[in-house]
């Protein structure tokens, strides 16, 4: 499970260096994200731009992370690729997550806010 994380203004930016978040790694993924967000700034932004496949296990893991961070911290997504975006639309989870069109947008917002 390859995740990188850094602090950018009021956000922790987590970059997913994996092409898939699927049943094979969903539990590891959830644990790792929890580990790197134990404490830190109020926003957590997940850079999904390298992820080209998300299955229901992966989606469930994202929801679980958001539930765990809420209500004190927000869990936001950036850089959804075509197939991943379709999964969000189909399951109506696009109405639940704050989705930024790009990491740059998410980070720009961080700069505006600080």
């Amino acid at each position: 499970m390859n995740l990188e994380h850094q602090t950018k203004g009021d956000a922790t930016l987590i970059t997913v260096n994996e092409p898939r978040i699927d049943a094979a790694i969903a539990i590891q993924f959830k644990d790792k994200v929890r580990e790197v967000t134990q404490d830190g700034p109020p926003r957590v932004v997940l850079d999904m731009s390298q992820v080209d496949f998300l299955d229901s296990s992966g989606l469930g893991a994202l929801v679980a992370v958001m539930k765990q961070l809420s209500p004190d911290r927000s869990f936001e997504l950036a850089g959804l690729t075509g197939a991943v975006e379709k999964v969000f639309r189909l399951t109506r989870m696009d109405s639940v997550f704050k989705v930024h069109s790009s990491v740059k947008d998410a980070v720009a917002q961080t700069c505006d806010d600080t």
Binding site: A23, D55, S56, G60, V63, K67, L90, T91
Partner: protein, 146 residues
Amino acid sequence: MADTESNHVRITFWSDPFEVRDVLHKLQTQWSGWGTDEELTQKAEQVVAEVLNNVVEHAHREDPEGEIILTCVRGKSEPTLKFEIRDDGIPMPGLQLPSGKLAEFGPDTADLPEGGFGWFMIRELTQNLDYQRAGDWNVLRFTVAA
């Protein structure tokens, strides 16, 4: 790839999430060889992943000795992919497929569903979805169209 003909592919494998990944990769290679439309292959990969995950987790209860046989046939003239997925795991409860209804959710994050997305997507993205128990095998058939 084992047993490939011009219009169909059959893959036999063991019940394991990494095997599932490998099979999806093999299918993508085959679809690419057929020149199948990308929108169709994207849908098909999603559905097959969801079906196989359910087989691994529920029918085989993560028993790595469970066997799965997947057959994919491409449409002759129409842009479709037809699938048959057989597994020797336990039958579907009540010999019926899950309804695949997405849980209702409100504005409260704490109430969001973490599961139930799989069968919902399978039902949304397939046609002619059919389940039968044949001897010791679950047999699921469906079509994915562009």
